[in-house]
Every structure is written in C-alpha cells, then in structure tokens.
Amino acid sequence: MPDGAYNYAYLDEQTKRMIRRAILKAVAVPGYQVPFGGREMPLPYGWGTGGIQVTAAIIGHDDTLKVIDQGADDTTNAVSIRRFFARVANVATTTRTSEASIIQTRHRVPETPLSEGQILVFQVPIPEPLRMLEPRETETRTLHALAEYGVMQVSLYESVTRHGRIAKTYNYPVLVNGRYMMSPSPIPKFDNPKLDRNPALQLYGAGREKRIYAVPPYTSVKSLDFDDHPFEIETWSECCALCGSSESFLDEMIVDDSGKRLFVCSDTDYCEARRK
C-alpha cells in the first residue's frame, strides 16, 4: 500500500473534523447517540470501523495506542487494528494499560483502573440498547426523546419471572447520567461497574450504524435492575490458572478431549503484570 497516498491516520482532515464535532456533541449529551457521516473504512463493517474512525479522529503523534479484543492484545483483530494505526498514523503502540493514552477495545474494559487523561474507545456493533425490543429506528428515537424506557424494564422483569433472575449477561443496559439509556457495547456485565464514574473518557463508535456516543469522565453509569433483584456480576469459583487472580474476568478453555477446563484472565496485560 502506498502509505504516502493517504492522510495522517487514514481519514482526511474534513472527515476528522466532522467526527470530532460528533464526539463533542456526544460528550455534551452523555449517552445520546449522535449520527455521524461514517466513512467506508478499509476494514470490514462489524470489525471495529466505528472505533477505528473515532481513534483516527483523535489520535496524534504523541499518543500511545493499545488495542484489545476480548481483553487480549494478541487476538487477531486487535493485532490487525494495531498494525493499521502503526502504519497509517505512525503511532507508538503498547500492551500496557497504564502506558496507553488511547485504548481501543472490543468486548472488554481493562481490569487495571484507568486514570484521568486516558481515552477508552469502544467498538460498537449495535448502538441502540432497545434494538432487539424495537427494530425501528424511527420508534426508538422517539422512545429516547421521551426517556420512555419501560419496554426494557419489562424485558428484564420477564427475565426474572422466567428464570428467577435477570439472565442478561452482556450488553447489559445502563442509564447514563440519569437520562439516556445506553448500550455499553457487548462487554460482559462484569465490566459495567467500571463504567461508572470512571476518570477516563469513554467514546463509543458504531461504524455500520453511523453513531457515536460518549460517557465523560466521572459520569454516573447505572446498570438497570430492581430493588428486589439488584444488579450483580459474574463470579467464578475458580481463579486464574496463570496469575491466581480471583478478581478478574476469566476465560474458560477446554484443554483436552475429556473436556478438562482451565480458567485464565481474559485481560492479558493484567495477567502478565501480576505474574512478574
């Protein structure tokens, strides 16, 4: 690829400006989905084009980028996206959560607490939290405008009546700043508490659906629940086989034909740091 033929960080400056305007609006109205003129990226839709556009619009020479998928730096798509930015933005990359100024992620929030000044960029497949309950954009837009979220509460209630508990496990709906219902992207609900009053800026990019939304630092993010069925996160009776952590999200692996299982941290950087 003749890299010189492309602008810094791939997108042209006008497009970056358009995306930055959308980001500013998103920060000003936490949890609100801002439509933006999403571009066709050289990576497939559904593979992080929204996150990539957000990152491309905010990245600069001084940044250090970390890209994770499923919590890990070395999953193929994370490698591919990191390579893309190393190539088109000539940017320093890292796997250390604490060293990164921008962390682009799919499906996880790092275990290591983030700090002020860091930006967490989420790749979002379906930005609309109500989509599976109401497929029409024209309808859900109205529901958001009226803060009419009863349909989600009913769906959680139905889950309680059917299963005796809220059986929703990932993409668990949250209320941002007491106003907008938001999809936290398909992170496990284990990560939901980390979104609340996080010192880092959270930006969410949905490329195919052409929406950007944000949670500014220290903003309240509440996972929906009921007084008698409070929100709870996943727990494991095992701990990480590599670092011994009993506080991190664990991936389960089948290690032999008899179905023997092993649990290890999904966050590879966190796990490695603990083993040092």
Partner: protein, 365 residues
C-alpha cells in the same frame, strides 16, 4: 499444558501471503490482466462500479482481480478507495434523452419514436453452453448499422406524461449524499434511490420479485429500458456554464405502474425508477420495482409488505455492511460466550435443585 490459541502478527502475515498465492493460482496458466477483466468480464466490472459507487473501469477490474472474482469483496475494495477521494463538486443531472443508445426497448408500446433496438442482450440466447468458447481463435466482429446521429431519443415516459397519463418525475434533486451523511428516516426519494443504486443486486432482485408475487404488488410495465453512453456535465464555479467532462455508460429503467388514484390525485400511472452504471438491466429493473414499492406511503397505499417497508429495505440493502456484519461472527466472542456459560450453568443448577427438591418431597409422601 496450556497453549494459547491466539493468532499473532506472523499468522496474519502468513495468511496474507497464502491468499496472494491462491489468487495467482497455477503458475502454468497465464495471469489475467486487468484489461482482460475490463473487456471480457465487463458485466462484472459494471456491477462493481454500480454498487461500488465509482465509475472507473480500470479500478473496478483491478478490484475484481484482487478479490479473486468475489464481487462483493471487489465492491468493498472499490468503496474503501472511493471514500478517500476528494470531491470537487456535483455534476449536472444526467440527461438520458441525450443517450447514444445501444439498446432500447419498451414493453408498453409496439413502436416508439426513435424505434426499439435489441442491442447486445442475453434475452434471446438459448442457454446452451457454447463449447466453441473452450477453443481459442478469434471471433469475427459483429456487423453494426451506422449509428443514428439524431441527438434526441425521447423517453417513452415523457410521451405518456405529456398526456397526463403518467406522473411527472420529481422536479427537484437534492444535495444529500449517503456516503457523506448518515441515513436518516424517513428518507427523501433521492436518498432512497441512492441507497438502492448502491444496494445489493441480489437483495433488490428478491425484493422486486416479492412484489410481483403479491407482497406489495404495483402492477408494473417496462415503460422503457435503455442502455448506452451519456455525457456528464459539470459546471465549475468560476466558469458559469456547464462543460462536458466525461461520457459514461448507464442502464436506465422507467417502470410504469398502475395507480387507481387517491383522494388528491386522479387515476394515472406512476413511476418506479432504476439506474445503474454500465449494462445492468436486472439491477435497474429490480431497483425500479423496489423504488415504486417504497412509494406506498406517498401514494396512500397500505404498506404491508417487506419491499414497501422503507426502514427495512434501506437498512439492509448494502452488501458491504451486510457482509461485514454477518462475517464479524468469525471474530472471537469468547468473553460474551463465557458470560452466557456462567449464567446458563447457574440456571441449570437452579432447575436441578428444584427437581431434586421435588423428588425428595415426592419420596417423602
């Protein structure tokens, strides 16, 4: 004991090399040139230009070669290139009555001013494999009549329109561009048409077909299909008048549909419109059927079928979006799956416990 099943840089690099190798295929067989694709797989090039929204035969042919003939992949390649191009303005609307037509047919009138021309068409081929194509050897050039130099080829629709039998086309275009601004719903007709023009041929074909089978029928007739070259004009700001900057091949379909009239409009025929780059009649016709179906609300018809559902059609027509999102399921989802495992195990335990409890109390009775 534990081997991380995770692909690193090396795995990706090897995969890319292998892909390039497979693309080339057996080295004993001559390599395809982009010119050959352009000339001899020209309808594939037309489709890639149409759905890739970029009229450039050489780039489309290159994309087809790079994509190993996977047209949706080629469309994706062309789109990803197109999006990086600067835009220096908007051309004047194409005037297809100035088309130098190579083909032109109407199914509504036996004869039309300017005449009908079959041109190059699969329509009356018998679909018998032509084994002669297996052999090498040149083909004689087809005889052609001297081209008709009459500048105007009036559209059949315009003739009907003069009589008031057919609604006029919308007067105003719009500056909206789906590739620069997100789709908002309800969409204007120009935006819908742009969406359909970029839309997947197979998707539109199936939807158009569904209207014919009664899912939102709009009683269509092919008013006219024409294929040929039309000039593209552009008015530079500093010039004050339009200049011709290119000539492109397009296929246009004007579908004439029955309409019984509504409260405000007397009975007349209505239009569905299709336009595609190159020679793409199936696409243009399917597009025209779906365009007309999507006008249900505007024409006070009950919109009850998928093809009449604007949000459904416009949100799912794009094959680059669809292909990406369907195939993203190949990406790891083990974090989400782990969450599901945890909760399904807990639910199963609860059920087991209830069963045990029930068994115990039964035994006690």
């Amino acid at each position: 004991m534990y081997v991380a099943v995770k692909g690193g840089e090396t795995a990706i690099a090897h995969s890319l090399e292998l892909l390039a190798d497979r693309r080339r295929g057996d080295r004993e067989v001559a390599e395809l040139t982009v010119q050959q694709i352009d000339q001899q797989l020209s309808l594939a090039v037309d489709r890639v230009m149409t759905e890739g929204s970029c009229y450039d035969r050489a780039l489309a042919a290159l994309a087809i070669k790079q994509a190993r003939g996977d047209l949706i992949e080629a469309i994706f390649l062309l789109r990803a290139y197109r999006t990086t191009l600067p835009r220096f303005g908007v051309s004047e609307p194409l005037d297809t009555s100035r088309m130098l037509a190579e083909r032109r047919i109407s199914s509504t009138f036996k004869d039309v001013p300017g005449g009908q021309m079959l041109g190059p068409s699969f329509d009356y081929t018998h679909r018998l494999l032509d084994f002669a194509l297996l052999a090498e050897g040149e083909r004689p050039t087809a005889p052609t009549a001297p081209s008709d130099t009459s500048p105007e080829l009036p559209r059949v629709g315009d003739i009907l329109q003069r009589e008031g039998m057919l609604e006029p086309p919308p007067a105003e275009g719009s500056g909206e561009d789906l590739t620069r601004a997100p789709l908002t719903l309800p969409a204007s007709r120009p935006v819908r048409l742009q969406n359909l023009a970029r839309g997947d041929e197979g998707f539109l074909l199936a939807l158009g077909y569904s209207t014919q089978r009664g899912y939102g029928n709009n009683h269509p007739f092919v008013g006219e299909i024409r294929f040929g070259a039309v000039p593209v004009s552009f008015q530079p700001e500093e010039l004050g008048f339009a200049i011709e900057i290119a000539e492109i091949d397009v296929t246009e379909c004007d579908m004439v549909n029955q309409f019984k009239g509504s409260h405000d409009v007397p009975p007349q025929f209505t239009r569905g419109y299709g336009l595609a780059f190159g020679h793409a009649e199936r696409k243009a016709m399917a597009m025209a059927l779906v365009d007309r179906a999507l006008r249900a609300e505007e024409l006070s018809e009950a919109a009850t079928s998928p093809a009449q559902d604007e949000e459904f059609v416009l949100s799912h027509s794009d094959n680059v979006e669809a292909s990406g999102f369907v195939q993203h399921l190949k990406l790891p989802h083990y974090v989400d799956f782990q969450s599901e495992l945890v909760v399904v195990r807990a639910l199963r335990e609860a059920v087991e416990a209830r069963r045990r409890q029930a068994g115990l109390s039964q035994a006690a009775e």
